[in-house]
């Protein structure tokens, strides 16, 4: 049975204070709790304090703000809020589709984007899209110092991030599209059509000029390595190429470059062989 104390800061000031005062304690943040409760149930802990972010009333954490450089998404924005946002839907289909593929309506209503990122699961859907979008994490510590880090660097391993004990993720910044001509989407492989944790996933976000030449490429793969991976070499390869008329060799070359990044494992959901195979098969279709 769960047994822990809960502190519910209402302002950032209170939050920082709680974090400062808790440095010698065993504590976890709780946002939407859809990962945390299962984590704690599977791994009961003694003397745990949960710092409850659900009561925090600070728009830096809670709002979606748009400026000329991009979109700043508060860590406590829920999946449902993202889905209801037209800017996200129109400009970042990859993020919208990934978010829509998370669990169920009931879970999405609670699940936050910050929780998804901080959980650092290799199969996190929103996280995978954010990696393809080259998002930047805005991290704040208990003294109010802010640091920014590319999301790819933020992930350090299965359930591991670069967050230090006195730090918290405040928001995620997604840079603005430089072109309106985009090819963007999310593919999630699972046995069922819903309620799946990805066996393999692909997030892609290509920006093109008028001639359909790629001017910016984002391509991330999930569930095939300890962290979600940005396939940089494949993205570099595709830059400048006309995405609508790639030849067979280009497509193969692109897929091979992706393969380099895949280091899948076998578990009860799928074998390493299967993960790699579908990753390559689907990567090829995206460009065909």
């Amino acid at each position: 049975m769960l047994d822990f104390d809960v502190i519910s800061p209402k302002t950032s000031h209170e939050l920082f204070e709680v974090i400062s005062n808790s440095q010698d304690k065993n504590y976890r943040f709780g946002a939407g709790y859809t990962d945390l409760i299962n984590d704690l149930n599977n791994n009961l802990q003694q003397n745990l304090t949960v710092i409850n972010l659900a009561k925090l009333n600070d728009n830096n954490f809670k709002a979606i703000n748009i400026n000329e450089n991009g979109v700043q998404i508060g860590a406590l924005v829920t999946a449902t809020q993202l889905l209801e946002n037209n800017i996200i839907q129109n400009n970042y289909p990859v993020l919208w589709e990934a978010t829509n593929s998370v669990a169920s309506g009931q879970i999405r209503a609670s699940a936050t984007i910050g929780g998804n990122v901080c959980q650092a699961s290799p199969s996190g859907d929103m996280s995978c899209a954010l990696v393809a979008l080259k998002a930047v994490c805005e991290i704040i510590d208990s003294k109010g110092n802010i640091r920014e880090e590319n999301i790819s660097d933020f992930f350090r391993g299965v359930k591991k991030t670069s967050l230090k004990k006195n730090e918290i993720l405040r928001s995620i910044f997604v840079p603005i599209n430089i072109s309106k001509n985009i090819k963007s989407g999310y593919i999630k492989v699972g046995t069922r059509n819903s309620m799946e944790i990805a066996i393999a996933s692909i997030a892609y976000h290509f920006q093109k000029d008028e001639q359909n030449n790629v001017i910016d490429a984002g391509y991330a793969i999930g569930a095939v390595a300890p962290t979600i991976v940005f396939t940089k070499d494949a993205c570099d390869f595709i830059l400048g190429k006309n995405i609508n008329s790639l030849n067979e060799t280009d497509v193969k070359q692109f897929a091979n470059l992706i393969k380099k990044y895949a280091k899948p494992i076998s578990d009860i959901r799928a074998s390493a062989w299967y993960r790699e195979e579908v990753l390559i098969n689907l990567s090829e279709t995206i460009l065909k």
Binding site: V6, S104, Q106, I107
Partner: protein, 161 residues
Amino acid sequence: MYNMVEINFIINGSKMTKRIKPSTLLVDFIRDDLKLKGTKVGCMEGECGACTIIIDGTAINSCMYLAININGKNVTTIEGLGTVEKPLDLVQEKMIAHGAIQCGFCTSGVVMTTKAFSEKCKNEDKIPTRDEVKKSLEGHLCRCTGYIKIIDAAEAVYKKQ
């Protein structure tokens, strides 16, 4: 033992104040403290939807929610639908008429999700497509019906209102 926490909330239309253990899950609070047994437990891990209730108009899984977080909120469980004069909500009527109930264990949750989704559609003045209806029910496992009757019932709700 950690300090008990006081929470104030509205449950099925009535204001209430309670003191609870901070780590209490909402579903346990509803079933064991409030004795509202219509909310069911099928898994305790967010997968089955049997525990679905509505908080401020949104359907959530009460097994994945801390009870303290309903402080200041409006909570509706299956017991809160319908009124004394009209004991069955439209959603409930349609579920019956379309034969969407067999063993009934998934039913409370399904009704709550459909209720929340129907209110949302009503506010946006739209009738969802069949695929959207299916998607709205993705978080409910039902072993008896094969979902078709449930989907039919939900569709009938959206068409009617």
